[in-house]
């Protein structure tokens, strides 16, 4: 799927690129750097010593203790690592410092290219309040709301004007962090405090804004690649299946929009990029209400988690394009031979998370005992974990993304379900079965997917241990064990005793 013909000048522009991230995205960025023959530098916290992303890079620099504030969010540590390694570019991935304008500014002061937009266009589009102003100037439709709400009392006044229910959102970053639904004035105080604390912890910026809650709504976003003047739209992604405002399943195209809406949405997204003189990869997110009416939601001034969906349909390597644009190429050139590229077929991504979807989506930790990924045509796995690795509570719960492509939505869906069934991850509870439930469910099959779909019903796993699991477990239980119930005479001559590595670690 990857294009091979690239202008050589972009490849030569960077001597070495530091990847200021961890997990699957750091592994994925390193893969492109390797393909481009640009030496890569990983950074890692004490908890990530020996993690897959460390080995995916050509060299690695330790940047501090496990808590993100002292490592992956520590600008001094990361810039110091870039200086020591001699990197002249930094790819921030998503999350962490990827949407931090101060970091982008500090990179350029240090003479290192931040592979992303300029600090100015980041401030103009990444800050939600500023982005709304830009959207208004571009005549992109907006959900009624209020900017920079100073306190819970002020929020209540604005909410009364806009009409409940309302959403409180972080002004300084995306991903659902610092977001709260408020149904009535009584809920405001607690929601405001929680949103502010979460926003402050996630982005180092605790300003909040307020919006009317559009319902029922879908989440549809447009991928843009821009070079400061030109902006090219690479199709949309629908990401309506979410829990706690975090995406679970993403697909392209959206089944909910026709050619006219698609084109209007792409024009709106491109106009935002042009208005901000944006250079790099960007995503404009929209709420799609009834009758294909869409409203501007926010701009993500970085690579998205779900970018492979677009890559699978377009054949574009978005990381390569980001690097080419950062090296001064035009957006059209960065896409290679044909721009805009032909976007075909259907792609669906599922996020494999360390969380118990059947019990309140509680985060799960533990050591991965066994991990097998499926392989097959039209299948892509972006993973940041491996067998033997310990999943800690310091970082987010995304373990891997499983992405399937097909000529039709149904063939992509079947492929993805089959891939999830063939995946084996033992040792940590994941949402694997839940993802299968979602993809096999009536709502997804018929395309009736809304942002409230996942949370509007209770999802249950098996209420008792399945017979099959108990029968399989007896294969291990036969090993000699002590202090396990009423131990009786051992089956000394059973072949089970002599076989296998089933020791308790």
């Amino acid at each position: 799927m990857k294009r091979r013909s690239r202008a050589a000048r972009a490849v030569r522009a960077f001597q070495k690129i530091l990847v200021a991230n961890r997990g699957e995205i750091a592994v994925r960025v390193c893969r492109t750097l390797r393909a481009m023959k640009i030496p890569s530098v990983a950074v890692y916290s004490e908890a990530d010593r020996g993690a897959p992303h460390v080995r995916a890079a050509d060299e690695a620099v330790a940047i501090g203790p496990a808590p993100p504030a002292q490592s992956y969010l520590d600008m001094d540590a990361i810039l110091g690592a870039a200086r020591r390694a001699g990197a002249d570019g930094i790819h921030p991935g998503y999350g962490f410092l990827s949407e931090n304008a101060a970091f982008a500014r500090r990179c350029s002061e240090a003479g290192v290219v931040f592979i992303g937009p300029s600090a100015d266009s980041m401030a103009q589009l990444g800050d939600k309040a500023a982005a709304r102003r830009t959207a208004a100037e571009c005549r992109v439709p907006l959900v009624p709301g209020a900017e920079d709400v100073a306190g819970a009392d002020r929020a209540r006044k604005e909410a009364a004007r806009i009409g409940y229910p309302v959403l409180l959102k972080a002004a300084g970053g995306g991903g659902g962090r610092g977001m709260r639904l408020v149904r009535d004035p009584e809920e405001m105080d607690a929601a405001f405090d929680a949103a502010r604390r979460e926003a402050g912890a996630a982005f180092g910026d605790d300003r909040l804004l307020l919006e009317r809650y559009v319902h029922p709504a879908r989440h549809v976003e447009v991928q843009i690649l821009a070079d400061g003047e030109d902006a090219i739209a690479l199709g949309e992604r629908e990401c309506s299946l979410q829990r706690r405002h975090q995406k679970l399943i993403e697909e392209s195209p959206s089944v909910a929009i026709g050619a006219k809406t698609r084109s209007a949405m792409q024009d709106a997204a491109a106009s935002l990029a042009r208005a901000a003189g944006y250079a790099g990869a960007m995503t404009a997110e929209f709420l799609l209400g009834p009758e294909e009416r869409f409203y501007f939601l926010e701009v993500n001034t970085r690579l998205q988690v779900e970018h492979p969906v677009t890559e699978m349909r377009s054949g574009v390597d978005l990381v390569r394009a980001q690097i080419a644009v950062a090296a001064g190429e035009s957006a059209a050139d960065s896409l290679g031979a044909q721009a805009p590229p032909r976007v075909t077929g259907h792609a669906i991504e599922a996020r494999l998370l360390a969380e118990d979807a059947y019990h309140g989506y509680l985060p799960q930790t533990g050591r991965i005992l066994r991990l097998d990924w499926p392989e097959g045509e039209g299948l892509r796995i972006d993973a940041g974990v491996e067998a033997g690795m310990t999943i800690t509570s310091h970082y987010d719960s995304l373990l891997a993304k499983v992405i399937a492509f097909g000529e039709s939505r149904e063939s992509a869906r079947r492929r993805l379900v089959e891939a999830l069934r063939a995946t084996v991850l033992l040792g940590v509870v994941t949402n694997q079965a839940f993802l299968i439930d979602l993809l096999e469910g009536e709502d997804f099959r018929t395309g009736e997917t809304f942002t409230h779909t996942v949370e509007s019903r209770a999802w249950e796993g098996p209420l008792e241990a399945p017979d099959l699991a108990l029968a399989a477990a007896t294969a291990i239980l036969d090993r000699p064990r002590t202090a396990a119930g009423d131990e009786e005479e051992r089956d000394r001559y059973s072949p089970w005793q002599r076989l296998g590595p089933w020791g308790r670690a």
């Binding site: 996630a202 706690r244 694997q432």
Partner: protein
């Protein structure tokens, strides 16, 4: 001779005994008996149940056994394992996950109603609120803001209203 399975599922003991002869396994559960053929095959195990063959992935962890079949994974905890027990006693509020305490709303001696916030824990950048399961009084608070807590740690002791 059958023996107890000695496993827990979702925090509750699995009431079952099992007996194996060669590859034949017979499991007596509370309301039914299961007959299966169980054969090891490399890292996997082949289980023939009701005439159907099922390939399961299997691994033994420090706290229990993991079995996966067609994308669905079951964790069967050893009964002898401590620690990862979920908050079972109604008066014990335990950490539902490993993480950090970001807010302690409860104080010792305080009266609480059902649903009142006691403690907020953050893990993987998300917040989780632990609320009082019933009306009562806070007997003891065993955590403080900023504490790192492990799954199953006791955070708050409640005395139910009499």
């Amino acid at each position: 001779m059958s023996r107890r399975l000695g496993l827990r599922f979702q925090g509750k003991p699995v009431e079952a005994r099992y007996e194996r002869r060669g590859t034949r396994v017979r499991i007596e559960r509370a309301h039914r008996t299961i007959e299966a053929e169980v054969r090891r095959d490399g890292e996997d195990v082949e289980v023939i149940l009701e005439g159907e063959g099922n390939r399961c992935a299997l691994a033994a962890g420090p706290k229990g056994i993991w079995v996966a079949h067609r994308g669905r994974t079951t964790f069967l905890e050893y009964e002898t394992s401590e620690g990862s027990r979920r908050g079972t006693g109604q008066d014990e509020i335990r950490a539902p996950m490993t993480g950090r305490v970001v807010q302690v709303a409860a104080s010792a001696g305080q009266s609480v109603r059902e649903g009142d916030l006691l403690v907020t824990i953050e893990a993987m950048k998300m917040e989780f609120k632990l609320a009082a399961p019933e009306e009562g009084r806070v007997a003891e608070v065993r955590c403080a803001e900023g504490d790192r807590v492990e799954l199953g740690d006791l955070l708050v002791l409640l005395e139910p209203a009499s």
